[in-house]
Structure formats: structure tokens, C-alpha cells
């Protein structure tokens, strides 16, 4: 059966209300780049669909010392901002121009495996996510958002409404390794953000994509970097740690074995680029 109703709420409270009223059978859609292919192919046959494009969740703006990204802001909008260069870089390596004009930053957190690449950059930037539901709003680190393979802490009556990242400058690097030059799923993605004090690494954040059930922080590699000088020895140690601690998988794009080796290669290259 075809869709009976296409809802376009004009505010977050209205969207939350509709979700509460219609329950889990309501298909929630932002950019449509994941949901529409399933609907077009007859795999997903929802009766009711809700669009988040008009609910006031699509802005990207500075707010104090953070960049506030509406969950329904397009990847193109993220690409265009200059407050956080790492996010621009990640958006540039995601999908294609047309898809970036439609796909959203929030949607990138729910991209099917091997997963969204902007999400990897957000994780390296200590992003926080804001969720809204009938019981109110809650705010938590992105690092606590993912719980497993295609699962998150988002309750069935909640919506992801905003993502925030600090705008404080850091040394950053982003490498997405795919089989094609562009518009390709990741073999592995590496995003890092460092602060150095007196030549030594103060704060190290290293996030990996397509190297686990969801974007992960390579905490052993981060520990190897913290307090160290970024020389060849440190870099080698960190790359090895990342390759050892990640949990990659085999799919149609790459094998677990290859992904693990590439984590080591591209963590090294990312660190060398700083």
C-alpha cells in the first residue's frame, strides 16, 4: 500500500507530538537519502511518514563557544560553514553534491554500515547531541550515543534535534579511504583533533569509521599520544594501537583484515599530516 499521509511539522514540539501520537509505525525522515531508496524499492511500505525538514532544525550557527548544528541541517550547509574546518572537510568527503544538498548531519548518525563519515569527525570533536521527547529534552556526549550495531540511545518516542561542537581551534586531520575517489562508502575513515602545549600533545581525540559497529574512539591510541612529542616513534605506536583496538568487519567493500591494516596506515598518515 502507498503512503497515506506525509506530515511536515513546523516545529520540534509539533514533530515530537506527532511521533508520540502515531508511535513507531511513523517513519521519520530528514533528507530522505536513506529512507527513500527503501520506499522506492518496495522494501519499506510505511503508511505515514514525517519529514523533519521544516521543523526549525536546519540551521548551522555559532552559539557562544559552540557551533550549533540542527539535526536536519544539510551536509551542504555544514560544508559551507567555516567555524569548524574539520566538519567542512568531512562533509566534502561525504556522498556527492546532490546528496549533500539533501542529506542531513543528523541523518549521518544513522547511516547504515559502514556508517557516516561526518559522524566520525563529530566524535573526534567531542560533539554533544540533544534529544527531544514527550518527557522533555536531554543532552549527552556523542561518544555515549551509539550503543551497538545500528543501535543508539534514542528512544522510540524521541527525536535527535541538535548537535553541538566546541569551536575552539585544534589541529585536525581527516582522511577517508574509499575504493573510489568520491561518493563511495569507506574502507576506513580517520578523524583526529589534537591540542599541543610546548610541543607535547595535551588532548588527543582519534575517531575511526568503518572500524567497528559504529564510529569509535581509539582510546588506546589517544593514550599513546597524550603527553608525547609527535615524532616517528609516537606516531608508529599510536597507529599500531589503533589498528589493534579497532573492531572492523567484513562486507562487500573490504575485509576485516584489510580494514585493520588500513586503520594503521591512515592513522599514521593523518598524524604525519599535522
Amino acid at each position: 500500500m502507498s503512503v497515506r499521509e506525509y506530515l511536515m511539522p513546523r516545529s520540534v514540539p509539533e514533530a515530537v507530538g506527532l511521533l508520540e501520537r502515531h508511535g513507531p509505525e511513523l517513519l521519520v525522515m530528514a533528507g530522505g537519502t536513506v529512507a527513500m531508496p527503501l520506499i522506492n524499492e518496495g522494501i519499506s511500505l510505511p503508511e505515514r511518514v514525517m519529514s523533519l525538514r521544516h521543523a526549525g532544525m536546519d540551521r548551522v550557527e555559532r552559539r557562544g563557544d559552540v557551533l550549533a548544528i540542527g539535526a536536519a541541517a544539510t551536509l551542504s550547509r555544514l560544508l559551507a560553514q567555516d567555524a569548524v574546518p574539520l566538519l567542512s572537510e568531512a562533509a566534502r568527503h561525504t556522498a556527492s553534491w546532490s546528496i549533500r544538498n539533501m542529506g542531513t548531519v543528523g541523518g549521518n548518525l544513522f547511516t547504515p554500515p559502514p556508517g557516516g563519515d561526518v559522524a566520525v569527525a563529530l566524535l573526534a570533536l567531542d560533539a554533544r547531541v540533544r534529544l527531544a521527547g514527550p518527557r522533555g529534552e536531554r543532552d549527552l556526549p556523542l561518544a555515549d550515543f551509539f550503543t551497538g550495531f545500528m543501535t543508539t540511545v534514542l528512544a522510540s518516542d524521541e527525536l535527535l534535534v541538535e548537535i553541538t561542537v566546541p569551536t575552539a581551534a585544534r589541529e585536525t586531520a581527516f582522511i577517508k579511504y574509499g575504493r573510489k575517489h568520491a561518493n563511495t562508502p569507506a574502507v576506513v575513515t580517520v578523524a583526529m583533533a589534537l591540542e599541543r602545549r610546548g610541543g607535547r600533545v595535551g588532548v588527543a581525540r582519534l575517531a575511526l569509521g568503518a572500524a567497528g559497529p559504529h564510529p569509535i574512539r581509539a582510546t588506546n591510541a589517544e593514550a599513546a599520544l597524550t603527553g608525547a612529542i609527535l615524532d616517528a616513534t609516537t606516531i608508529g605506536r599510536a597507529a599500531q594501537a589503533a589498528a589493534a583496538e579497532c573492531q572492523p568487519f567484513t562486507d562487500g567493500i573490504a575485509t576485516e583484515w584489510y580494514r585493520r591494516r588500513m586503520v594503521g596506515v591512515f592513522v599514521r598518515r593523518a598524524l604525519e599530516s599535522l
Partner: protein, 446 residues
Amino acid sequence: MSPARHVVGRSVARSDALGHVTGRTVFTTDRAFPGLLHLKVVRSPVHHARIRGVDLSEAERVPGFVRALTHADVPHNVYTILGLIGVEPEEEFVLAVDRVRYKGEPIVAIVAESEQAALDAVARVKLDLLELPAVFDVEEALKPGAPIVTHWGNNTFMYEGHPCRRVRFGDVEAAFAQADHIVEGRYDTKPIEHAPTETTAAIAVPEANGRFTVYTNTQALYFSLDNTSIILQVPGNQLHFVGGTVGGGFGGKVDVIVEPLATLAAMKTNRPVKYAFSRQEEMQVSSTRSAWRIYMKDGVMADGRLIARKVTSYADSGAYSRQTPYALTKHAANAAGPYAIPNVSIDAYCVFTNRQPTSAMRGFGITMASFALEVQMDKIAEVVGLDPWAVRFINAYHNGDMKPHRKLVEDATLIETMQAAARLVGHELPDAFRTMTSDPRPDRGA
């Protein structure tokens, strides 16, 4: 001659250029017909099974359902695409009868008022299938006890009573005994999907005079017309096929897959019917280039001369023949390569497995032979200590040489092509190779 005919030596714009850059070229599914019906197919979800029953009752209740077509509705339900050129036996069903042999094999066609209704009805058809063991590897398929895919009892296409295409020239075993080196290799290729940007499609339209006009993006308009005529048991002059605009084919639109069912549905409903593959069907159900496994054993002298080549090839035809038996014939005629080898033995098998049926794709039968034998030439060069150019010049065939399948070489150009390639890349050839020609060898004559 009028100036308009003086085109030799001039650059002339393609006749479809204007249409392509203005978006006005009409591709098959760009056509609109009032009352158009949509045909979608119920496909086997498993690789190999006996069909015990098909329940259409829920599907028939979907709003917009018009009718279903089963094998009983198809006047001549069996066809081999190559039957038109005398290749036997007939063995592929338009709609499955009591067995399915590959995942995706068509079982029932559903015709409905909208594509959505057709998809919905397809999803509600209930299949009662008894799964059978399946085989997916060419050599596994030839072992005793392997699941049998065909209806004639073994998993190979029979060539005049033999399970493979055979070429015998000279005595390879005697030559191996004399050779200074034996160089062996196993070469595997994978199926390749043509993935044209436009999917396979046909629209069949009943005309007022009782004929049917079929708009199709087939690469093989006459094959399609003639096969449809045989399958539907109507004279060819009742069918008017319109085609020629193909959004990418590469050999993937030669299998006469959508026209017979679309036309049958138009006959049964007296309305225009569109049968277009979704992208998923195009990628997972439509034919691919065959996967190939080639074993090559070469006998080589210390001076680089190839004196014997033994080839055993297995092509994975998938569950049905399509064009693959023909590919094996071409393969057998070319597997020795453009080289003069006095002793050659080739066994080329067309093997059936429970994979997607494979068929034509650019250079089919030959491309993978070239891959295998050219890598062999490089290996030979390494073993005897010559450079890869030398090994090829030394062994290149000349006009007047006899090929292993008993055809005289004419218009040989390997030598000249290599010389041109060497010039292009700035590779300095020794005089003997730089001045060599494909002329007949003095000692062999014409």
C-alpha cells in the same frame, strides 16, 4: 555525387546528438500510453527448489490487481536464445513450471494498474518451495554426486556428444616431454554485471489491427521479435518491434527477457503493458559476464619458443545457457592466443551451476582467455630470462600459419601492433623485431 555525401574524412555530428543534449531522445520508458499496466515478477527467493505450490489468493485481492500469468498461460514456455541459430536443447522457461534453478528465477508475472499495486501483489504471492541442494562452483558442479542443474542429467552443455568444446592439434604430451620448461597457471575471473545506466525494459501495446507494437531497449531486435513470436506462437508479422535507442547494453540486453511476458500480458489484457527492471533486478537478476576458470600448461624451449599449450577452461553459465555455449566455442578457437604453437589441446566446458545465468558481454569468451594467456606469456618470459616483448615477437603467428582449430591465419597484425605500441611508449626494439612483419614464413609458404 552531391556535396552532402562527401563525408569521408570529415567529422560529422551523430544523428542523436541533438536529442541527447536537449533531453529529447526517447528511451523506452519515456513513452506514455493511456491505460498503461505494470508488470512485476515473482522471483525465486532461493537458489534451487522444487515448486510445490503457488497461492495467488491474497495477491488477487490487492486493489489494482488485474491478473497473474503463470507457465500455463505461456503458449510455448521454453526457449533457448540461441535456438534461432540451431543451438539445442531448449531449456529455459519463461515462467517456472515445477522447479527453480537460480535465485531470482521468474515464477509468476503480476499485472496491475500501478507499479505500487504490482509490487504489493508480488509481495503477497505465497510460494511453497522444497529447497534442494545447490552448487555454485564450476569444478564442484562436475564432481560425481553434485546437484544436477539441467534437465538432461549432467552439468555441462554437450557439444556433439562431448561435454566440452575440444581442440586437438599435434601432440601436447610428447611436446611436454621435450620441453625445457613447463609453465603452469590457474586463472579465475568473476562475474561482471554490465550495469547499464538504463535498466532493461519493454512496453507492449495492442494495436487496433490486432498486431502488437513492442517498444524495447534490446540490443537484439530481431532475436527478440523472433523469440517472442515462437514463445507466444504468433506469426512474426503480428509483431512490430521498435527499438534502437539503448541506454547502455554492453551485451546485457541481448537475452530477450522482458518482451515475451510484456507482449503476453498485453495480449491477455488488451491494454499496453510495461515491464521494466528495477535497479535491483538489473544488478542481481539480469545476466552477467560468465566467471571463468582457466588452467594453462605451456611447454617452452630455452630460446623462448612455445611448443605446447594445454588449456582446460570452465565457464560458469549459471542455471541456463543463454549465450554461454556460443562463448565457449569462441573461447576454444582463441584460447591459444595469436601465437604459433605446434601442439595445442583445449577442453572448454560450459558448466551449469545454481548461479545467475550468464550471457554475453563485450568480447565474451575471449577477454578472459586473453587475460590468462598473456599472463602466461609474461611468466614464460620470466622463466626463460627474456623480456616480455621478445617472447611475444618470437612466438607471434604469421599469415599462412595454421591455427589449432584448423583455420589459416589471415590478416595477422600482432607484430605490427606491438611495433606501433613500442613506438608509442618509446621502447627501443632490437632490429630483428623492429623489422619483422606478419608475412608468411619462408619455410611454410602460403
